[in-house]
Symmetry: D2
């Protein structure tokens, strides 16, 4: 693991998730540039002191010298955004699989620089679009792919959070780097959660946004990046929709919700009640599909992502655990490039293109803007 | 009552609502151009046969001849849109108060033609923006006016319905006139429910939309008017937001929802659970305010619109009943122009201006468009 | 109307409900023994002063003298319990139909005294078990009767309220008579809401409780009647269950809920979201049936009790309005004894028998007790 | 781990939960008496083959021979009930800490036989009353202990499941042993989930049931143990209540719910939405406390059991993970007997006493029965 020292947020989340199914053992890390923090984190995690490295460069260098059966196999990158590509490139080049936080980079160009190295090595790059790990998201995708909703007409995806309603960046490490363009990239809110919303909309529909018309805002005085925005969307398959992502929705927790409406019916999924998928129809009562082993009406992709019977809630860590487990299977199965069931480089590129398209579109003369090419 | 014969929808709704609090007696009507329908409706409603008129013109003419204490006092207009202004104008000119279905007209210009007659007579014009009749909508407005949320930043209003997902207009009277430009005006969905969404957003915030960027669609083949749309919004007070109104959200019933986020907190109200108002805060747990006589935390405007104690649900008819009761009080109190607590001409003009602004803005070159002047 | 003067609760509820569908006109009343209150109530309700009677006896006497086409047809009795039978008996004997609040009497014996008069006159007796007026309660009954759940195994009915958590009877008129044995009868909570719970359980299942084992309590110091209780239940058809009724569940509003489990599936209905019926199954996902005109999956009994399309909530007043409308149809149709679709004498007798059975069963030596004979 | 081979249910759950926080490494096991199953399970779990033991006896014997720093420290017992005590006794005697599934034994007497061995060794015994691991359960307990609800009057605990609605025991391993008296003990449903319900009621209130009046049933033909039951409850502190536990509530998943009503307010917690605690009050609107790091209004006991910020759902595995983590801390801290924050022997004895009290009380002559002494 690179990053994830004391005071960090997402590193511990990755460790919980990776531990869930027994596929991973944490063997080494460069958790913090602060030597004390790094050492204390390593101690807490029972990492052998010789494998608690002072920098990510040292980690890659030293681990590469170890025999193949002792060497780290998968590197989790949980640093702020500006280090993602640099670290990932070095790790991939050294033959180490990478599971990286999103957004993938601080710019689309930077992200694209991962393409050659990923193509040239027998390695995998996974991206922590965690919400894609929920079973009911796969169920939704399955039903849409299967034509159960008919042709898709409308896609509404929203992601309201409230934690940046005030100038939290003055005191809070998480808020600080997320609102610092040098560490976060050209967007705050769109990079942090707008990319999740886009990824969800495209994953569930199996479709791509082709153009959008954006309206981004910065509400908190002195903040250097956007903390809020929305966009009208058009999809390749003919659907239209709306994307909302905001971090100044006071009092909201983590309200990612996606709704997809087709000719015949619709689905609704809400991250804060992730084990339910609402299925509506033009001519039949609403059905609530429920996650869980053995639950009726679920497709294999959903069932295989449930560990326990219905009524025993699984949540966010289990969703990320599903990504980690799919990634482990891909490693063992010798897959390269992209791991089945795990967002990868293409998703990362689309996320960066989304940020750039939003930034181009928004403004006092907002206009429909073609989605930036990222193939 | 003008309109509301057999096969109509909203006429019966008005009769239920008006009956709820005992302020109205239905004494005369011109329910249908079809003489049989008109007569049967009158019989069902126990209207004296001499006051079941063959046309709205006859109704106004004959009723005007009656002594003041026998004459109809309030005329409910529940016809398709294209008759609203013509009938209203004649009734108001004859000194009869008018309670009219929305949207007010088939164009802004037509709506404006009501201004002189309303100004010149001691009469009232009320508009059936029924959702404004719910107690918790008044509670939300009160809290925002009172500064409990701080400065308003975001307003999300959505109104998904699914009943026009297919070409229902072939067989269904309601669908037929609503998709016929000659009866409905220049817009289908925006006129029918978009105006409700706008009205709700402006009522609750006490603010006005100043510009918007729209995306309207017609999904069902052969349909002559829009059945779906969305817009990015900007408000005079500095807030921004999103409005969604669609009648092709397959499986949705009548999902009007409004969310308003300020610096300090937020409110959420959903028409399908109208007796709850969710109040969130940046630094305190969520509170659920509940409608009902004697319920804690409610303002007078909300309490006065509750008939029974909390836990005994009141719904849509009670909301419309609240408008009718406020209108009755205004009549008795000798108010003129606009009745306290009831949407009126200004709301009607804004609704028409909204439709025209949306139509101007939408298109392949959608752009931010200033809200059409309607003062 | 007898009772329902200023300061009363349920009288106004009856007036709203009776006004909803246009079948009733309030023509006379004896609203209060207090002459001022009586007169003011009559004035508010626009009752002709000669028909605002000083006592219920006068009302019956004077109205009986009027020609048949002017005389009151239906008397609503909304007094405290101890007057129900006395007034009802006199009205029925005078040929006036009676729609009476529940519980029917202050004792089973008193209630039985209504049998001969009801049998001897061409009159109807209706009882305000209002919750039976909800469409989805009829839907539940229909499905169970139809065998859709298979043989019934478990019935859970609960009715938590919190309004009597403190000694409210000191200041509150409603609380005062409800906790006064001379006005309320032998039970407080079981009479007031336990009877609703029993009625719901028996109505929905179409089955009868044959024995029960009770535990009743009085929690508030100085209170003279029970304010809380529960019972284990056995039904004639082989099911067992639990009934809970309490008025000291601090913070609860009016939480009547019924759940019925059969071999194949189950239903759940909750009065505070009355337009949804949850239908679960052993081998299929949960279905949510929704009230409303034209909603899929509803039986005729449910549909005929919906005034407006799905998504436009109807509530408690509409439920009572359904009883009033069924009662009006029965009057017009010349039914006698019991009105179709409206609880009647048999329900009232069972309610009184329930109270007496509960009182027999509870105590430090609580035991299974056969349901008191009330045929 | 003892038990938990292929085809078992709860073993894998324990492994997920123990892996979550990184405090455990699975080093040895006797997963199944079937040698193939045992070996395959060990292989899947990457257990060294010499530590995949053919029997629990061998495991304890062989592990005891290893040096202290290599020997197993904590044994998870996830077998059917009849082996719990025998295995636990041997392990505890060998100085190995035990984390055991519930119920603790097949009889109270058998359970009591653990007392001397636990008292005589520096070891810990933990019991998997998993629901006690949820943060909001600790929040509820804290508020009640703190007097925030006032004196407690009513406790309703219910646990409806539907999975045993049919004779599943013919084909299903889980259902088979749970309905077999020789493996499950004297009760099916009460042992399996009734004990959870009792434990929850007593944990949250900090009070003890002193007497109860039960009604147990077996609904499925040929089933050898109860599959359903309910009881009226009395608590030492003066409260009364109702307990429902059933496995024939067709269509229910895992609906453990607890509600506690005091003089001033009440709490409601539902296992299927475990991150919310509803807090009601006699004189203030309902508040929804939410689990999550940094969420407002939470006590330390709740906060310390949250891994991630509010809005990122944690579920059942996290709840069990909390028990495992508390147990690990107790091991490291040198606690003996009972681990802080983890149910232990006393809870196990109360569970067994509950089963025996229920069995004594139920029957055609059901009666209030004193809770069996288990001190």
């Amino acid at each position: 693991m690179i990053g994830g020292g004391q005071g960090a947020f997402i590193g511990a989340v990755h460790r919980h998730a990776a531990g869930l199914d027994g596929h991973y053992e944490l063997v080494c890390g460069a958790f913090s540039r602060d030597a004390d923090n790094n050492q204390q984190t390593a101690d807490e995690l029972s990492i052998a002191s010789e494998r608690a490295y002072g920098s990510w460069q040292m980690l890659i260098e030293e681990e590469s010298k170890l025999p193949a059966d002792q060497r780290v196999q998968v590197l989790a990158i949980v640093t702020p955004n500006h280090l993602h590509v640099e670290v990932a490139k070095a790790a991939l080049a050294a033959g180490i699989h990478v599971f990286c936080e999103k957004p993938l980079a601080i710019s689309l160009d930077e992200a694209k620089s991962l393409q050659p190295v990923l193509a040239s090595q027998p390695v995998l790059l996974g991206l922590a679009h965690t919400y894609i790990g929920y079973p009911m998201v796969w169920q939704a995708r399955h039903m849409i792919e299967n034509g159960e909703l008919g042709d898709i007409r409308k896609v509404f995806v929203e992601y309201p959070q409230g934690w940046l309603s005030s100038a939290l960046e003055k005191d809070n490490k998480q808020a600080s780097w997320r609102t610092d363009p040098s560490k976060s990239g050209g967007s705050g809110c769109m990079g942090d959660i707008g990319t999740h919303a886009l990824n969800m909309a495209e994953f569930v529909t199996g479709d791509k946004v082709t153009k959008l018309c954006a309206d981004m805002h910065t509400h908190v005085e002195g903040r250097r990046l956007d903390d809020d925005g929305a966009a009208l969307l058009r999809f390749a398959g003919g659907a239209s929709g709306v994307l909302i992502a905001s971090q100044v929705c006071a009092g909201e927790e983590n309200g990612l919700k996606v709704r997809v409406y087709g000719e015949k019916g619709s689905i609704e999924w809400f991250q804060m009640r992730p084990d339910s998928l609402l299925v509506r129809s033009v001519d039949a009562p609403m059905v609530t599909l429920r996650a869980g082993q053995g639950m009726p009406g679920l497709c294999d992709e959903a069932l295989s992502r449930c560990r326990i019977p219905g009524g025993h809630p699984e949540g966010y860590l289990e969703a990320m655990g599903n990504l980690y487990t799919s990634f482990a299977k891909a490693v063992r199965g010798g897959q390269t490039g992209k791991a089945d069931g795990v967002p990868g480089l293409v998703d990362g590129l689309r996320g960066m293109a989304f940020i750039e398209t939003m930034l181009s579109s928004t403004g006092s003369e907002a206009k429909w803007t073609d989605f930036v090419d990222c193939a």
